[in-house]
Symmetry: C2
Subunit: 262 residues, 2 copies
Amino acid sequence: MDEPVLLTGAGGHVGRTVLNGLREKYDWRLLFHSQPARDPEFPYWIGEVENHEDVRPAMKNVGAVIHLAGDPRPQAPWESVLSNNIDGTHTMYEIAVEEGVDKFIFASSNHAVGAAETDERTPDMYREHDDFRLTGEEFPRPGNKYGISKATGEIIGRYFYDKHDISVCNIRIGNLNEDHPPIDYERGQAMWLSPRDCAHIHECALEADYGFEIVYGISDNDRKYYSLERAKEVLGYGPKDNSAEWDGDDRLAGDAGAVNVD
Amino acid sequence: MDEPVLLTGAGGHVGRTVLNGLREKYDWRLLFHSQPARDPEFPYWIGEVENHEDVRPAMKNVGAVIHLAGDPRPQAPWESVLSNNIDGTHTMYEIAVEEGVDKFIFASSNHAVGAAETDERTPDMYREHDDFRLTGEEFPRPGNKYGISKATGEIIGRYFYDKHDISVCNIRIGNLNEDHPPIDYERGQAMWLSPRDCAHIHECALEADYGFEIVYGISDNDRKYYSLERAKEVLGYGPKDNSAEWDGDDRLAGDAGAVNVD
């Protein structure tokens, strides 16, 4: 990707992680929801993603978009996700297509399929060698309103791909935790996406060729109930981390020169 | 279904057809978007389905909902379907759950999968014995903004079913044409839903036991690319009409006592 890349939600957790990991590799354009504490080293704008006039200037001459902006709260109320997430994602796609953007990477979420975690399956499903593993081809099963908005964002992307031939990659992001995965919490270990794997999967999505994809964004955890096959096959995703390599002492299990991560 | 049934979009084409076919069978409650020309013979309300205060009185003591209201235009602009269809369907589910409604029947649409009709497949896919037949388990592929709103309505229903255990049946309605199917128009013949089959599939959805379903609502046309298996199996749908029984003279093919339908 030689052309500039627009990153929305640049001030959020995933946004900062992507930018930290790939700072040197792309000519970034940044869209923030509010003024960042420090002045960014790339051209930036401040605005609401559901407003065409806020988005359009940031989209000029851009080759790809990583769209992370939106209300990130799993318990966000309907009115907020309807506007910030559903309408915002529609505006982003509409202007991306108008401006001739080639590639759109959408931060979907594990919450788009959160209701697949049922009482009957939990917690077995988070364990190793569990037979039940989601591939991304399933009909969505959101577990909250936020998840409804993420599944809808995927469908909006499907429409723009079918209609306007923009390449679309939806990454159903797990749990991004700094430093190490949660200890003694099976779901957290199954869901873990390490910071470097987070940056890497977004780089893969910027570089690979595809039409419309839904992939899961987690590290290569022993415990998992999301398949990584599609991300590996289509995007060339090669995760380096695995929550099983961390034990209860916050150390890399089996690593003699233990790293203190706190 | 012994309790009252609330019908929204009661003044629309599908609404009138359902009511005409099932008038005697249920204790109807009707929600109109605007004052009907003739005073209905059932209790009725006028309002916007996205407004909680408009919906709540109509939902009192109701056992089931048939939710047809919304902007029905395939080319409706985003702002309209976002409000009338997406937000409106969310409001309907929210109040249905609050009021303890058991069953929610949602008028989805063939447009939720309209982009599955691609240049490569058309018009072969509308012909008899075509191998390509949608079952309802596919990830949605809307062909317009209206289709996005219908697919989103299905996902909203999935959330409310998973979270609140309300029974949900999504009917991806084909083309409801009065009297006879379109002549010399293969897609129209594949998509045809006759008025009596339209009333019947809604009755089936009111009477059957299910959790969450997505079915196709077309007549038993020789030409079709939607499977009716699920509707027959789960709902007990037994369509009586078939667009192939009509020839180019607007007559029932092979019917000696030909009916003039115009």
